[in-house]
Symmetry: C2
Subunit: 460 residues, 2 copies
Amino acid sequence: METFFNPPSVAIVGATEKPGSLPGIILKNIMDMGFKGRIYPVNPKYQNVFGLRCFPSLLDIPDAVALTVIAIPAQFVVDTMKQQAQKKIQYSIIISAGFREMGAEGTEMEEKIKKISIENNIRILGPNCLGILDNYTNFTTSFLPWERVSKPQKGSLSILSQSGAFAIALLDLATQEGLGIAKMVNYGNRMDIGESTLLPFLADDVHTKVIAIYMESVDNGRKFLEVAKECSRKKPIVALKVGKVAAGIAAAKSHTGAIAGRYEIYRAAFLKSGIIETNGLEEFIDGVKALSMQNPPKGNRILIVTNGGGFGVIVADHCSENGIELPPPSDHLKEKLRSKFSRFYVVNNPVDLTGSACDEDYYNALKTCMVESNEYDAAIIIPLMAPKGMTEKVVALISDIMKLSGKPAVICTVGGTFTIKVKQLFEACNFPVYPSPERSVKAMATLLKRKLLQNGHPLT
Amino acid sequence: METFFNPPSVAIVGATEKPGSLPGIILKNIMDMGFKGRIYPVNPKYQNVFGLRCFPSLLDIPDAVALTVIAIPAQFVVDTMKQQAQKKIQYSIIISAGFREMGAEGTEMEEKIKKISIENNIRILGPNCLGILDNYTNFTTSFLPWERVSKPQKGSLSILSQSGAFAIALLDLATQEGLGIAKMVNYGNRMDIGESTLLPFLADDVHTKVIAIYMESVDNGRKFLEVAKECSRKKPIVALKVGKVAAGIAAAKSHTGAIAGRYEIYRAAFLKSGIIETNGLEEFIDGVKALSMQNPPKGNRILIVTNGGGFGVIVADHCSENGIELPPPSDHLKEKLRSKFSRFYVVNNPVDLTGSACDEDYYNALKTCMVESNEYDAAIIIPLMAPKGMTEKVVALISDIMKLSGKPAVICTVGGTFTIKVKQLFEACNFPVYPSPERSVKAMATLLKRKLLQNGHPLT
């Protein structure tokens, strides 16, 4: 697998400087990323492409080549594969579309490629995909220009996605949410390499802490179950399964030729293998974000602290819906809190610091409840930034005291420009921030699910 | 009611230039908004406040006064009310907190004020509230500085909110979502004026097209049901009821002293009176946004158009979950579409224009399906902006052709900086944009609910 992510040498078939050409953009993206391996443009039309020597065909390259990247029209791919077999190149990423997802003719071409690859022991990623982005080896086969798609920062999240558009959207979302990326793999039609091969590789990848999977179908059900079970013991896996119902299943078939299969079977498999399933794009990215930034809480005793009473009420409602427990503080703890705060403040769970709250009130509430007491395992903190008493300093105060407590927290805050600035400051301190009460609650629920799994409990 | 929103003259009790003082910020906000009525600062300490003549007490004001705004500490409010009664001022907005929500002592003070108001026929908004923002009369009693809270643009959405923090958050969200505001009312402890009085007023307000209500409890169940039924015939009402389950009900009691009551009763009342209920902050603002920007579709035949197949699949899944029908195009319509597009494009529902899509493809797909054919009532459009073929021009093309069709559409798009720019362009054309598939589907479901109500069908 390593060769797909860190090839010592790569041939870009069809490379050109012509604007808008896929192989051209891919070559440019690889060079822009600062990839250190050898790069061989292949195109009979040119002597040089972007300053690199260009070869008429794969067979003309004098050195050994580890990997080809093929992004030429579908009807020319079979011939390229034949050359690749002759040159004994063992790995190929086929970006080109126009195969199985296009019906009979495309399926036939795909079968021919498959035959060549099996006979010559060539491993294939794709076709109909974006391929790879590795943020540590600086290798990519993405054909999307960086001025349209955020170049993600280095981090610990790795993404497996059957859909290219979805993979790209996740890169953008990750950047917006302050999340760093380790690896992204989009395998499209998944002729050969799929989830079952990639998952064990990511399980052992030192840079990957959390794995996010978008799936329409799975390559090999039995093997996937096995490797997912093994992998989820080490690292959280969060999945978004789409093509669940008739309309979606039909759409998935048109999209990647995937036979989505019965959703109930997937659901059972996820539960059995310790995969955390999410419903919809936001729950998916929110869960991934929580798991990337915070550890699971030791137990299910959650404290809400807010300066917006209404938000406390909504969070409390959603906690109940999501099986999160909100025990009230003990009389002793209430006394301690009362001694620190104005009599207007509501000393309960939620702790309501009201519109009069200042930064230090958050510090004091969290110190009293999360550090000096052992009544709570984690906190949902809702600092609303509209009142004058609230400033950017609240970020360092909350971050310091929560880190001292050793307990996890998720943040919810809603507001305009100033709030967005505060969100980014929290995320720079590794606290996941959510723009609605319900999303912060679901993120906490995801952390709790991970804890159950770590304790060996099956999900239900 | 008019006097609360457009008082010919208003006295600000406790007005001062001292930074951070509530009456001071309120006075400044009123002046900043450009309010045209007469303003009387009241404070025995000063001769002038912000250049206006200041009076030692309400009784010293030589003219008649229509409304008082009271934002002084709770223990001084009773005396002020006595003066107000003597001066025969008929309306009062009491911003001050520290009443019923604080237990027995506060309740006692609140009862005293209530007694004075009943005996002297004084109508009261509050206490424990932000009061009013009217974007057409430029009157406000908000005590939050505009550098922290977005000053909303003029528009057609009016907000009723028991929670102040929530009302403020909605103002910020509305600005982010490109939504204009007509009126905002936050009534906190709701000693006198509440939903049942405000709703008929908004029903007749020329500037209000859509009404959003945040409620922990209701002032008068029977009357509310009656006025809501009447109002929802004219204008959509979207509600977020919080304090639904034990934890939330307890939190609501601490917050505004509200007895949240049994949620099932509320649910039944909403259904009966034609109020569209939403679950969570995002569904609430998303539904309000859809209803403010688009008309309900004539029927439930929805077309999905996308250039990201995976997104089409997720939207299709969520459509099924939300009762939205996705009929495939007729053979005739499929033929027409096929004649216009590359053979790679998927001509079905979703129409998948693939990563090769350009702006004009959207125009052609929508023209063929929404203008030249009568097979669909509305569209969920998912333009992903990562591919080079997609530019800002897609906004005008989609907007023009959908306006020509006379049918509503909601937009889903996910991405980075460029996508956010495109979102704002769509919203300037009155197309609601959502950052996830599931939210765009729920927004369309809200439009469909409104159509059912207009047709006289009860919601279920």
